[in-house]
Subunit: 315 residues, 2 copies
């Protein structure tokens, strides 16, 4: 198949390559190949969609296809975690230029399957079409198994704020690539596909988390959603953060403050949650408190200067 | 808001406009605005995704935003019908150029909501991002309410083939627009947004349909999926079709055979199903039989000449 393009192989040929030999989870009675997939849900159903657009979320020369497949699944699956729910399955809408090599699609599918395995979700179906730039739309489906989901609106004054996962790594990786470098390798790989702490959402819920969100736009921006939905003030203490070595390295090389990456860098999809005092699970790092001040986010007691996060239409 | 663009209003401003005042169905406990939506499913869950790409599936000057919103929902919702299932909800992934007017988004959202109302689905959530061309990805969710879904693989020798909905109208409308005309108006509107026969999927299942599909790529092409999955031969009798007046008109004007539109035109999302003899519901039109010939589709007993339908990577 060397040099074969999607345009030559055709829509149905490519879909066949992606779905061939796909294992079906016990809950799935109809997998890809019919008009729709059919599966059982334990408790309430939980769902969210995320789109990745070439030239906006990634460049093909900066993110290999397999890493991109992993990323597309991870960014969507993180939303199921952020509800404290369990991963069930996902659908992938994919549009690609017709001159894209079939080997690129194969690698993308390999990454999608690998991240499905990591998250515990089944690939339920998809759509494949043509476009000028690559667009990947992943819809994730989860289940509550009878538990109450953890919303953004439940933070209470006196709670502590804690996170699990990585903060600033993806932004650090992007800073590295933007300057034409390929190291620190750990940051570049974090940018290419984030490491979502699968299982940590349910872990936080079981520990009594009162609110939760995944950090997609940036820590300050995403805590801002919790603050406004919960009508509380969240005060982050920068002294609480351990700054990872690779972030020190990239900060030194770029003349930036490593805390800038941690506070405003998005796309790592760490989970950040509020817990009653004394309820924080061991692997979570406490970074602040919930107070009765004006609804919003403070950093070391003061308003954060700068945008704090990402808006797709405001650079 | 005259002249306001999405780029100026920002991602969260636009999302707020789309979701403001959105009614929530009783089954939905968490609607748009948190990390994910939460809702109850009666029976098994049924799901599918469809993408519409500007320049491939539509041109903005040929499809007004409101009709496009209706179309995006309709093409996806038709897959729930084709399983004989019930509409429940949907998610919309939308990427748009930053210079797009907010009024265009408002009209698109109006169309999405109108088609949600027509289909009985709730708008559960979405994602909004930036791209060069408009891309809309709709994931639909349905429920079986305890019934067995109708698959592509169940057609049996001796069944009759019947459809409900429209065939060839959308292709006729596209032929009209491609030649620079705007009438017959009924065809142009059918191209802009198809009229899915909501409820007909469950109707067919209750009548005993053995297999079913919605006509997205073209009648011959989509019956080909039933034929190959069911390992049967499907013989279509062209004498069975009533050719609608607007198709006569456009065929005469373009020098085409109106049966060409009916047999190969996609995107009307009629439902076509196989039924045991004597079980066809009144509003369904019988157009053929299932025989034990070689798996495939015959037209008046002979192989159909020509492609028969649409492949996104083969024009």
């Amino acid at each position: 198949m060397d040099g074969e393009t999607v345009g030559k192989l055709g829509e149905f040929g490519v879909i066949g390559r992606i779905t061939k030999g796909l294992p079906l989870a016990p809950a799935v009675s109809v997998g890809p190949g019919d008009d729709a997939a059919v599966f059982l849900v334990n408790g309430s159903s939980v769902t969210s969609v995320d789109m990745l657009v070439e030239g906006v979320h990634f460049r093909r020369d900066w993110v290999p296809a397999e890493a991109l497949g992993r990323r597309a699944v991870a960014v969507a699956a993180a939303d199921i975690e952020a509800m404290g729910a369990y991963q069930l399955g996902l659908l992938v809408g994919l549009s690609v230029p017709e001159d894209i090599p079939v080997s690129w699609i194969d690698d993308l599918a390999k990454g999608i399957r690998a991240e499905c395995d990591a998250s515990g979700a089944a690939l339920l179906g998809g759509d494949l079409t043509r476009s000028k730039d690559v667009v990947i739309s992943v819809t994730v489906l989860g289940e509550t198994r009878g538990a109450q989901p953890v919303l953004r609106s439940g933070a209470r004054v006196g709670d502590v704020v804690a996170f699990r996962g990585r903060l600033g790594w993806s932004a650090g990786g992007l800073a590295v690539l933007s300057r034409g470098f390929r190291s620190p390798r750990a940051l570049v790989e974090a940018y290419q596909s984030p490491q979502v702490p699968y299982g940590a959402g349910a872990e936080a819920r079981l520990a009594g988390a009162t609110s939760m969100i995944d950090v997609s736009d940036g820590l300050v921006a995403d805590l801002g959603h919790i603050a406004s939905e919960s009508e509380v003030c969240i005060d982050i203490d920068t002294g609480r953060f351990d700054i990872p070595d690779p972030l020190h390295a990239v900060a030194a090389a770029t003349g930036a403050d490593p805390m800038h990456f941690i506070l405003t860098g998005g796309e790592d999809h760490a989970l950040v949650a509020t817990f009653p005092l004394g309820s924080v699970p061991p692997e979570w790092q406490v970074i602040g408190v919930v107070t009765d001040g004006e609804a919003g986010v403070l950093v070391d007691g003061a308003p954060h200067s700068g945008a704090g996060g990402w808006d797709h239409f405001r650079r």
